[in-house]
């Protein structure tokens, strides 16, 4: 499967014997996520007109893909599969809200470049679109905001996206990440309600919006920007929800974006440090 802004999620458990005829018919799992997010985009837009404009979304996707092609060629010496870049671009195209064109292009470009620049021991440590969006929210708040409204007025679209998304990440064996985050979010929402005295519905409200659907299904499940162990992934998801809890108490509007921005790389750095420590010990023991 995939994440919204980084690498396509793949599911080794669903792999089948590599029979040539079947290989021709088989749908490559790398394209499940791009397809899913495209469906979300189309359904959301055709039903409710969620996009700022077709041109801006197209611009974000085009910039992401071109940047990935060029940088992949230069730095990896090959033409990379573009599913990841497509997801980054379309995520930017959906999530960024700006009357101007340049934030879409710049956000996509910064997102893709972050994968090549911000690397530690061969791994990029930020979810690309999370990085790009968080940076622009910080640097250009007068020009851009993030999608923060709902798809529409009823529960059906909400339900369809949650069910479809859950099935897909279940197949990709990353459901535990999303589930941990969602459960944690609700617990912290009730805790915030108790602390602030605001209605619990107000605290729960954000997760009923589309930004969270993209966040839960695509961003925090990004294989390349979360840790590898199942327990670690759950801990990171919980950590994101915890950081978001504190940011929300401080009334930060885009709390989840910034929570992931801080917690994701921190967890990766810990894992990288832990891996290198184990390698050092193993080498010493050997």
């Amino acid at each position: 499967m995939t994440q919204l802004t980084g690498e396509p999620l793949t599911n080794s458990a669903t792999a089948v014997p590599d029979v040539p005829a079947r290989r021709k018919l088989r749908f490559d799992n790398r394209y499940v996520a791009p397809l899913f997010i495209t469906v979300i985009l189309l359904v959301g837009h055709l039903s409710y007109g969620i996009l700022e404009s077709y041109q801006k979304t197209a611009l974000a996707i085009a910039v992401a893909i071109i940047a990935e092609l060029i940088l992949g060629r230069i730095f990896f010496g090959k033409w990379l599969n573009l599913a990841s870049a497509y997801i980054t671009g379309i995520s930017v195209g959906i999530l960024v809200r700006s009357p101007a064109y340049w934030p879409y292009a710049l956000c996509s470009l910064i997102s893709i470049m972050s994968k090549y620049v911000l690397r530690v021991k061969g791994r990029h440590i930020w979810n690309p679109s999370n990085f790009g969006i968080a940076v622009l929210l910080f640097l250009a708040p007068e020009t851009m905001a993030v999608l923060s409204i709902q798809w529409g007025n009823n529960y059906w679209s909400l339900l369809v996206i949650w069910i479809l998304g859950s099935i897909i990440i279940w197949r990709a064996r990353r459901f535990h990440i999303s589930a941990t985050y969602v459960v944690s979010f609700f617990l912290f929402a009730f805790l915030r309600s108790w602390i602030t005295g605001d209605p619990w519905q107000a605290e729960v409200a954000p997760i009923t919006g589309p930004m969270y659907q993209l966040f839960v299904f695509f961003m925090i499940t990004d294989p390349k920007t979360t840790v590898r162990s199942r327990t670690g992934q759950c801990l990171v998801a919980f950590g994101v929800a915890l950081a978001e809890f504190f940011l929300r108490l401080d009334q930060v509007v885009y709390a989840p974006i910034f929570a992931l921005f801080f917690v994701g790389p921190a967890a990766n750095l810990v894992e990288i440090w832990w891996d290198s420590r184990k390698t050092t010990v193993a080498t010493a023991d050997g």
Binding site: Y48, G49, M113, Y116, V135, A145, A202, A205
Partner: protein, 598 residues
């Protein structure tokens, strides 16, 4: 990675440069703002050709708007809900040649005002004596705005007051008194309206009336049966008030025909304006909606056809709060301005300036939003605006007011607002789910915008420099030549704040010409008549409007700035009856009074 070290260094440098780009753009924008801070009159006149001086109190106008106190179930968010009602409309109700000001108030028991222009620079409130002040008694709702139109063609402008409550129609009895004719007109018993306009949609010479509901008409905001009365969505709400189109049957009778003619919307209307956008001879109707897309109704003379999405103006849902037409490019066609919300880092909707796309006409008319390109996009939490040539240079400028709730300067409600606004309909739609405001501001204390059109495709923001320096929670803007000097003064109402009159001083070398029209076959107010003026190789079209902006109505008189040109080639008047009249000898520096030829 196979890439060389220099390539990696280059990549890092490029990355850093990209990160620095927004900061560089911000610095460039800041540099452009230098020199636009407060100026003295002489400097502003020399540089921008105008200067505003606020003169309300010294002119005898001491109006301060009062907000209503709605059902106590809304106490926790009262400033957010009870946030409208300061309306302003201009009229010469007694036909003495001086423009008067009618203001709506919204506190229970508060009084509306009619400031009669004494002609000596002062104003006197005569609303009480004339019977149009006491319209906000408990149980009847409170006023939101008013529009004037001579519905019976007797030569005196009649008054329609729309309310969150029982709308009221008053007949003007020769400028001496007003008679309440609501019952006879068979107007609705209760509408939570925030917009209404007079226009003659069928060209029969009798003014018709459009009323746009905001909250559903089933709701009595003082006696709520439920707190589920908020919009079901921040951008896709369709649970607002219904729309009414009252066809004028003559003899003071009206017939409601909205559904019959194709107007069925339940979006949350905040502004409406009408003009013949396609040169079809029929008045088209534009409705700016809060919590959703704008609607544009093409009028074919028989039916209205909603073409918002088709034309482009109804594609992206925003928070429409004003609607006005202006020929900003001097091409002889109308652009449409719609104000929305922009708050740094939270919600950047940007205001819209819909310009007719070149090469599209008639039913194929399309619009492009060029507000960013022309520099009139960011206006904060924008409310009322109007087009007008503020410095008489021959180009239409923009005056825009803004600001939602100015309370505690140090505390913002935006976080809580955005939290709930993004929620599902079951959450956002229930006022009980909204966190308490607790004295916090929501886009408060904002600086106003005066955008001067440079005639070369750009508007420059000069509000502070030319004296528009207030930071009240502005609502209605109306443009009017209050002292018959050939300049446009600005009347601004403020929610829970004082009325402001910005007296305009304009650079004397710029000339002007005004037209005051009176219909004969057409409606006598001449609403919908348009004047296309040609001078010095230039042209500009303006239409006589029965309401535009937010809860506002400009003066009837059409005002054209001419720059340094001292004569005009011709003025072509297109009357609503279809007659076309060409005036070759219009007098520059004068009010040209034109009666529709028989």
């Amino acid at each position: 990675m196979p890439a060389s070290r220099p390539a990696k260094i280059l990549l890092v440098l490029l990355f850093l440069a990209l990160l620095a780009t927004p900061l560089a753009l911000k610095r460039l924008a800041a540099r452009r703002e230098v020199g636009k801070s407060k100026m003295d009159t002489a400097s502003a006149l020399a540089r921008y050709g105008l200067f505003f001086q606020e003169v309300a109190k010294s002119s005898g106008v001491d109006f301060v708007h009062q907000a209503p106190t709605l059902d106590h179930k809304l106490d926790h968010i009262m400033p957010q809900v009870a946030s409208m009602g300061a309306g302003a409309s201009i009229v010469d109700f007694d036909r003495d040649g001086w423009q008067d000001i009618y203001l709506t108030n919204s506190g229970e028991g508060s009084l509306n005002r009619l400031y009669r222009n004494q002609g000596d620079g002062t104003f006197t409130d005569v609303a009480g004596n004339l019977g149009i002040a006491d319209l906000n008694q408990p149980g009847t709702g409170v006023s939101m705005g008013a529009v004037w139109g001579d519905y019976d063609n007797d030569g005196y402008e009649d008054l329609f007051v729309y309310k969150w409550g029982r709308p009221q129609l008053f007949h003007n009895d020769g400028g001496k008194h007003f008679t309440n004719v609501t019952e006879a007109a068979a107007l609705p018993k209760w509408v939570n309206a925030n917009t209404a306009i007079w226009f003659d949609y069928d060209g029969d010479g009798l003014l018709d009336l459009f009323i746009g509901g905001y909250y559903s008409e089933d709701i009595d905001l003082w006696h709520l049966k439920t707190t589920r009365m908020m919009p079901e969505s921040f951008e896709y709400a369709k649970n607002g008030g219904r729309k009414y189109l009252y066809h004028n049957l003559g003899a003071g009778k009206f017939e409601e025909v909205s559904a019959k003619l194709g107007i069925n919307s339940r979006r949350w209307a905040l502004a409406a304006a009408a003009a013949d956008l396609r040169g079809s001879g029929h008045q088209d109707l534009f409705v700016a909606n809060d919590y959703g897309v704008s609607e544009l109704y093409f009028n074919d003379g028989q039916q209205f056809h909603e073409v918002g999405e088709q034309t482009g103006v109804g594609f992206a849902p925003k928070s429409g709060m004003t609607a006005a037409f202006g020929d900003v490019l001097n091409r002889g066609e109308y652009a449409v301005y719609v104000s929305n919300i922009s708050e740094d880092g939270v919600l950047i909707q940007g205001n819209n300036l819909w310009i007719p796309r070149e090469g599209t006409t008639g039913d194929g008319q399309r619009y492009d939003n060029l507000s960013r390109a022309l520099g009139v996009e960011m206006g904060g939490w924008s409310w009322g605006m109007q087009f007008g040539d503020l410095n008489n240079d021959g180009e239409l400028d923009i005056y825009l007011t803004n600001g939602y709730v100015s309370a505690d300067r140090s505390k913002s409600y935006w976080y809580d607002f955005s939290k709930v606004a993004g929620g599902n309909s079951s959450i956002i739609g229930d006022a009980a789910n909204w966190p308490a405001m607790e004295g916090r501001s929501l886009s408060g204390y904002q600086q106003k915008r005066v955008w001067l059109n440079d005639g070369a495709g750009k508007f420059n923001e000069v509000a502070q420099a030319v004296g528009a320096t207030d930071t009240y929670d502005g609502r209605a803007v109306a443009l009017v030549d209050l002292w018959n000097r050939g300049v446009l003064d600005v009347v601004v109402t403020n929610q829970r704040g004082p009325l402001l009159i910005y007296k305009n001083t304009v650079s004397p070398e710029n000339n002007w010409i005004d037209f005051e029209l009176e219909g004969t076959a057409s409606n006598r107010s001449a609403l919908g008549a348009e004047v296309k003026l040609f001078w010095n190789g230039r042209q500009q079209v303006q239409t006589v409007s029965g309401g535009s902006g937010f809860c506002a109505e400009n003066q009837r008189r059409l005002h054209f700035g001419l720059g340094k040109t001292a004569q005009v080639e011709k003025a072509v008047i297109r009357w609503p009856s279809g007659k076309v009249q060409t005036i070759d000898n219009a007098s520059v520096g004068h009010i040209n009074k034109i009666k529709e030829p028989s």
